[in-house]
Symmetry: C2
Subunit: 339 residues, 2 copies
């Protein structure tokens, strides 16, 4: 049985779901993979929780501990570097919400972990957009793993396929329907709704944020496309290299014309290597039934990789809620230790 | 730079394509993955070729060496155990065509490799159907890898997803369109052809064998389903556990009825864990547009995994020719050495 210490940073929706999932799966993972996963410390903005076997972590998750008593469990004096003592190797799980341009605070958190010989897995896009190259180099130099499935597709195994399943191929293009919110809106519009009706329906179901601009402006699609393409195609693109068309620009007429032709309008992220260099965009495109992503409707997502020796390979589906992201973090951890 | 010795057994379509691919990709794999892939010996039924730097292997592949001179290059006296000397570690690539029931000769070949401390990758279904459990146990005990992507889906990364991308989940069902020949026939029938017309069209394009029974009787679908489910769901099913419906039984009327309802008839392999145990079948099913495999037409293949924590994840596509299988073997080799 291999003991794996986990330090978690970030105790929002995904962080909490991750703790819940590890507790739930602990016994199965012991039996099936020979890994004994144990939380060492959990950090949230208001302090750190030193997890001991008698810590009332289930009570915290369930919200059954009175707020006053709970606050006393979190110690604001403990800092990350103390916990990541060199030699006490394990995995740092990063679930902060970092700035997409500076990458902070996630970038510094992951840097600290790798520099102390800890593996890192993250569900946070910021540090990967801002510093993927640097972090991967550090990890490789130290023989450590940086797992980023949780940030790039979550339960949709886009990175696994791009990095491992297509190893040895030349990936000439990556195309994806990468944002569930806009895909839901476009699917509803294809069924006759206006943009405003579709957005309100998405908000009513908790699919769209009260301020939906990050999604509907196409930024989330561009960020995920960037993570995938930079990792799988070995590129170093920044957000400014992607030509972005907001979903707000789509007209009922364009949707209707596509429908009459048997097509669907999708927000398609696409990076393509061509004779005149790399072209990157996140734009509204009409897809016909022969396109491998044609059937990806509602909140579903999907990615198609075009390669030289394996043809086109597509992955679709995978839960896009906090539980799916938590499951992706757990998957990355298992794959660090088990071949 | 890590030197990786390769011993290849089987020099048919896939074996030859694999040699061609490795020669073509050698330099890129050196640069990108730090692996120096080198053939040590190639075995075919008529003898073994000891590969030295001056071996005219390109000439053999191109068929430009006179038959008499070529025959002299293959030495029938060299046996596999001699070449797989313990200590001279590397990868055995198994491309024989083994019997689906006994698993031989592939089973004994892979057993020999693992027992001598060599990793093994295979494009041969026989040894996996007959002896997956035994071979995986041996590999695990010795810290070796048994790569079987080439046999189960080839360029379609079904095993990678089932084993790695879904690690930590409970896979409750595996469904797949797993045979390109029958899917091509059913697609053509959906466009109005009769079974005989569709089969003849497939044979004319080299998609169906002159004797198509292994495909159209549903056996190939059942075998691939078995490999996937036994590996990813941890089952130990045999071919006799799968309820198989031959494609020859489909009527024009059934195809036509489905078409009028907006559905398609597909040969669907399915293994499902239910309250009353495991149900396994390879049967003709009508799929509607909301099914994730609905768009998998022609010679394409696809697999959907249903899980507890990640929802349903689908992979589709991937070349199903010898080049796709060769690329899958190469991918498995890279992933043995590179994380």
């Amino acid at each position: 049985m291999k003991k794996v210490d986990i330090v978690l940073v970030g105790f929002g929706n995904v962080g909490r779901e991750f703790v819940r999932l590890v507790i739930e799966k602990q016994e199965v993972i012991r039996q099936r993979h020979g890994l004994d996963l144990r939380f060492r410390t959990i950090f949230r903005t208001t302090g750190s929780l030193m997890v001991k076997s008698q810590s009332p972590i289930e009570g915290i998750l369930a919200g059954t501990i009175p707020p006053g008593r709970e606050a006393a469990l979190w110690n604001p004096a403990v800092r990350l570097p103390q916990v990541l003592a060199p030699g006490a190797r394990g995995v740092l799980v990063e679930c902060a919400s970092s700035d997409i341009r500076t990458g902070e605070p996630g970038l510094e958190i992951i840097r600290t972990a790798l520099s102390r010989g800890w593996h890192a897995v993250t569900a946070d896009k910021g540090p990967l957009v801002a510093g993927l190259g640097e972090l991967r180099k550090t990890a490789a130099r130290k023989g450590l793993t940086l797992g980023s499935s949780g940030a790039a597709g979550a339960a949709l195994p886009a990175l696994d396929v791009g990095l491992r399943s297509l190893a040895g191929t030349e990936i000439t293009a990556v195309e994806g329907i990468l944002n569930g919110t806009t895909n839901y809106i476009l699917t509803r519009m294809g069924q006759g709704a206006s943009f405003d009706q579709a957005l309100r329906a998405a908000q009513a179901r908790g699919i769209a944020e009260p301020d939906p601009s990050y999604d509907v402006q196409g930024l989330d699609t561009a960020v995920k496309l960037l993570l995938l393409a930079n990792a799988a195609m070995g590129l170093c693109l920044g957000l400014g290299d992607i030509d972005i068309e907001p979903v707000t620009r789509v007209s009922r007429r364009r949707i209707e014309t596509a429908r009459r032709r048997g097509q669907k309008i999708k927000l398609l992220g696409k990076i393509q290597r061509g004779p005149r260099g790399v072209r990157a965009e996140a734009k509204l495109r009409a897809l016909g039934p022969s396109h491998p992503l044609f059937g990806v409707d509602g909140t579903d997502k999907g990615v198609t990789f075009t390669t030289d020796t394996m043809g086109a390979v597509t992955v679709t589906g995978g839960k896009s809620d906090p539980r799916g992201a938590a499951a992706a973090l757990l998957k990355d951890i298992i794959n660090i230790y088990v071949r």
